[in-house]
Amino acid sequence: MIIRIKLYAALGKYLPDGAVKNEADMEVAIGTTPEVAFTSLNVPLEQCHLVLINGLFVPPPERATRTLANGDHLAAWPPVAGGVR
């Protein structure tokens, strides 16, 4: 399935090739969680402070358990924007 990954501020460097304006489409396996998606791009998990799926906040304990759906927008910011870790 395809999700839209959005990585901002200092996390922008982990975006896959072809990313435009901090976002890119990304193919992931069914059952992928935010942490799996971040890890696949080598994004340090400790740098993912604010994590949103479709604009809704994902609390830290759920980042390893919530599964993404086809078409979901997964966004992350480093500590620049606060967030909860």
């Binding site: 901002y8 304006k21 604009g55 500590p79 606060g82």
Partner: protein, 615 residues
Amino acid sequence: MAWARNLLRVDLSKGTSTNEPLNMEWAQKYLGQRGLATKYFVEEVDPKVDPLSPKNKLIMTTGPLTGTSASTAGRYSVVTKGALTGAIACSNSGGFFGNELKNAGYDMIIFEGKAEKPVYLMVENDSVQILDAAEFWGASVWDTEEGIKTKHGDPLIRVASIGVSGEQGVKFACIVNDMDRAAGRSGVGTVMGSKNLKAVAVRGTLGVAVDDSKSFMAAAAAGKEVLAGNAVTGEGLPAFGTQVLMNVINETGALPTHNHRDVQFEGANNISAEAMAEPRESDGKPNLVTNQACFGCTIACGRVSTIDRNHFSVKDRPEYHKASGGLEYEAAWALGAATGVDDLDALTFANFICNEQGIDPISFGATVGAAMEMYEDGVISTKDTGGIELNFGNAEALCSLAELTGKGEGFGAEIGLGSKLLCEKHGKPELSMSVKGQEFPAYDSRGIQGMGLTYATSNRGACHLRSYTVASEVLGIPEKTDPLETDGKAGLVKAFQDATAAFDSAGLCIFTSFAWTLDDVAPQLDAACEGEWSTDKLLEVGERIWNLERQFNMAAGFTGKDDNLPARLVKDAAKTGPAEGKTNGLGKMLPEYYEVRGWTGDGVPSNETLDRLSL
């Protein structure tokens, strides 16, 4: 100590100035800056006064920590009755002016009356002169500041001045200091202009003493360690500034767009912190040049940027080719998303003009957004705008109107009325996105519910700096709450309002509160100031200040009915994003808020509350 224990009273009508001892009994109850100056103001000014009357007063005020080595302790505020709002106004600014004023030996300057002709005040420690400003009247903030320094042969003079906008009565004129820091909101610059006061120039070399210097140094150092170790104040704000919020708030579905018709802006990333850091095609350089810090600040969130020299706004205008302050998030939002303009250079130019001519970019951009909606709805036409095609997204129109509004000319004079009067004039009051006459900042309250209550109850009209619940609702500071829920927001807003009043009154920047709580502030105040300063006392002081401001507004004619939001926010649901289908739940939150405040069902502070706060 910490307070200079001395205030300067300047009677502009008589052309006199006198020193007075600071009321230290009040200082123990209202701390300083916002709180203490408001106490002086409400004691001395008729709440019904016309803001532009000589009977209105204007106070430039520091806090007890201003000028000390506490981090961010360079703040000062301007307290008056706002020209834009008719409510109590308190606009806070950084830079270096506040420190200079305190070092000249003054906690505050109270301006009364109106000068017969344009003047500026020159303060060098105990030497105070009211000088002819004829040569600076009609000049921009930038030229005035440079001109005064040159005239007096001292580049270390700090200047707070108004631009042509303040002279011309633009309702949201600012007082700008240090070229790009501003007491920005509520029209405090308009009040200054009405007094024929062009500028206040200060050179102070007396130093600021604290009560227990050893304890204070330890407390200030501990505070700095907390700021440095915090991810937001130690890493995020210096690197990306407030502009990092652009994509956060857009993704959250709370970025007011096209005069709040929408809650998400397609062009958000083009005007974001990330865009500011991206090399441009023409010269390979990014818009962002560097960050900058105000006096004593260990965060350094400020942005310094340049405009592409080939951009239409500055082509053949080399005076705008050098680096200058901005963009910060609120300005970028108002000039950008509110107007639908996603041209970063155009926003940077408009922001430069706001600084140069002393206009509040929030109220300016939001009013242009309202005018654009009226234009697109056919309510106004090019006949009204002087030929400007005012469609959403028109970058040329934005830049042109910034210059016209900065000088109070053409359709810029109409924009200078602010959105409330402009929309009323054209029979569309519902299109003004404002509370108590002041335009909203950059958070849509359908997507961040607590901000609706924040705006509705703000004592100076719609404002994010009275209760930044975005910190909790979006960023999780100090703890995460759900932005789409109304439950618990009444208590959250009250807590933020009271704490913010204490931060503001100490002389500190509110950005410290991303890392500090009042538990971090109290030891610094306790060491610097006479008296016992605990967290509990600061919370009580904050609550007292909030109620004092409320009392003034009620005596000025405001009622609980003014604790309201435009119909668009409580009736028209958000169209996209997480808040899709939602309106703001003010109707539920407001009665709860009155209850936690100890106010009546009509929003009047109860006698019991006033007694508890010794008001």
